[in-house]
């Protein structure tokens, strides 16, 4: 196999890895926010269900969760799951990361001083306005460093999709290494993950800087 063919195959894997990454971020952040509402709910049933969900998501391996999501439709309903690979990966990653993000949102929301809510109430803001305009922007600033940590972990975690034989970066690299007895794909993969994370960290730092205009 020529080097350029190898790079072609690897770059198609890169695109797929980035696909997993972006879909997971776009879906799991809002889901995590809603899960955090459930976690903080006054309804004890809802709160406990969410607590169990978060603890299972954090307490079991992501790889195992991916497998279960993937094989479930087949085991439960005998459905054909051949085309289900990508959706299963996105669902698995999303529900896992939403659990982590939910705990981060919760800690941020709970750290807000009650005076902010009281000032907003005195000025007549509705509950929704108070959350969207007053609380959430400040929460985002507070939790951004923790979000950055998770996002960087996610970049590396995308490689777990190899467990469902999804042709992302790591899966492709492993196959080429086995077939061609060359180590180069691993080097390329390492550089890819490193550069990807470097960019992600720079973007997150940019956001943090943008929000540093106030304390």
């Amino acid at each position: 196999m020529s080097f350029s063919t190898m790079l072609m195959q690897l770059s198609s894997g890169m695109v797929k890895s980035m696909g997993i990454f972006f879909w997971t971020i776009i879906l799991s952040l809002p889901l995590g926010l809603f899960v955090s509402f459930g976690r903080m709910s006054k309804n004890p049933a809802l709160k406990n269900i969410v607590k169990v969900y978060i603890s299972v998501m954090r307490g079991t391996p992501l790889m195992l969760q991916l497998m279960i999501v993937y094989y479930c439709p087949f085991l439960l309903f005998g459905m054909n799951i051949r085309t289900f690979r990508f959706p299963a990966i996105i669902i698995g990653f999303t529900i896992n990361y939403a659990a982590y993000f939910a705990e981060i949102f919760r800690s941020g929301i709970e750290s807000m001083p009650v005076g902010q809510y009281e000032a907003a109430k005195l000025l007549g803001y509705s509950k929704g306005q108070t959350f969207i305009k007053i609380i959430l922007p400040q929460v985002i600033k507070r939790i951004l460093p923790s979000i950055t940590n998770e996002v960087i972990t996610l970049v590396k975690d995308t490689s777990l999709a190899f467990s469902l034989a999804y042709m992302e970066m790591f899966t492709v690299a492993k196959q080429i290494v086995a077939k061609e007895s060359t180590f180069t794909p691993f080097i390329v993969a390492a550089i890819f993950y490193y550069v990807f994370n470097f960019v992600v960290a720079a973007v997150m730092e940019h956001f943090e800087k943008k929000l540093s205009y106030y304390r």
Binding site: A119, Y125, Y214
Partner: protein, 254 residues
């Protein structure tokens, strides 16, 4: 005309009864000061008046409209929906620790609620905000963020923010206790100026000379009850042993 009437207010936190059957009223243009040792329930009565706490008994009436009352079974019923909104637009509260929105500029802190809650005309709101900032001596700080201001400046912004809602009555909960003595004077001057314009105010304060000078009436509270309620001069020449003891302590503290 009475702006606020509070009748037979009771408030407990769990077992602890903090407000024990307090009644007070404030007429238009009147300035009422509330003094008393710490823990006597001064903040709690303001928080009840501004709906930050729910009362356990009694009634709260703004401009003749019942914000809360106690029914025959002893349940407290609060006004809801649009009626509550209308009632709540009557009052503003200045907090001890300002509670400005740190992510909003001074201007946005002042104008956001008038524009997005009261749905008033933007130009009109900005003009009023600029007037208020000018009065507070902060016109040049309109684009600053709260963290770039001194405590005294922040408190003046929070007063401007409350005033821009055009409240009928403004409550102050120890507006100067988080401030250094020099900064305290800034705030007292602002309140004095408001008094000259006959703004209706209820002020909880430890600044005894200020209370004496600016108020029409003073309430001395202790342990959840009103010990004495009278004019400043009578209060400071009171025969009441508890009043004398409290004011004496302040005198000695200088």
């Amino acid at each position: 005309m009475k702006i606020l009437e509070m009748n037979h207010i009771h408030k407990s936190f769990g077992e602890l009864e903090v407000i024990k059957d307090i009644s007070l009223s404030v007429a238009e243009g009147e300035i009422l000061s509330i003094i008393g040792p710490s823990g006597s329930g001064k903040s709690t009565i303001l928080r009840c008046a501004t709906m930050l706490e729910t009362i356990n008994g009694g009634e709260i009436i703004y401009m003749g409209e019942k914000a809360a009352y106690t029914d025959n079974n002893g349940n407290v019923i609060y006004a809801k929906g649009d009626k509550a909104k209308k009632i709540n637009s009557n009052f503003g509260l200045v907090f001890q620790n300002f509670n400005l929105f740190p992510h909003y500029s001074v201007m946005k802190n002042i104008t956001d609620a008038p524009i997005h809650v009261q749905k008033r005309d933007k130009t009109e709101v900005f003009n009023q905000a600029r007037e208020l900032l000018e009065k507070m001596g902060l016109l040049d700080k309109a684009d600053y963020y709260p963290c770039q201001l001194s405590g005294g400046q922040q408190q003046r912004v929070s007063i401007a923010r409350a005033l821009c809602m055009n409240p009928k009555i403004l409550f102050f909960d120890e507006p100067t206790s988080a401030l250094d003595p020099e900064l305290t004077l800034e705030i007292l001057k602002v309140i004095r100026d408001l008094a000259k314009e006959h703004m209706t105010m209820v002020i909880v304060t430890h600044e005894m000379n200020f209370a004496r000078e600016v108020s029409n009436r003073i309430i001395f509270m202790e342990k959840g009850v009103i010990v004495e309620e009278t004019t400043p001069d009578k209060m400071f020449n009171s025969d009441n042993e508890r009043t004398k003891a409290f004011l004496g302590k302040y005198h000695n503290m200088g």
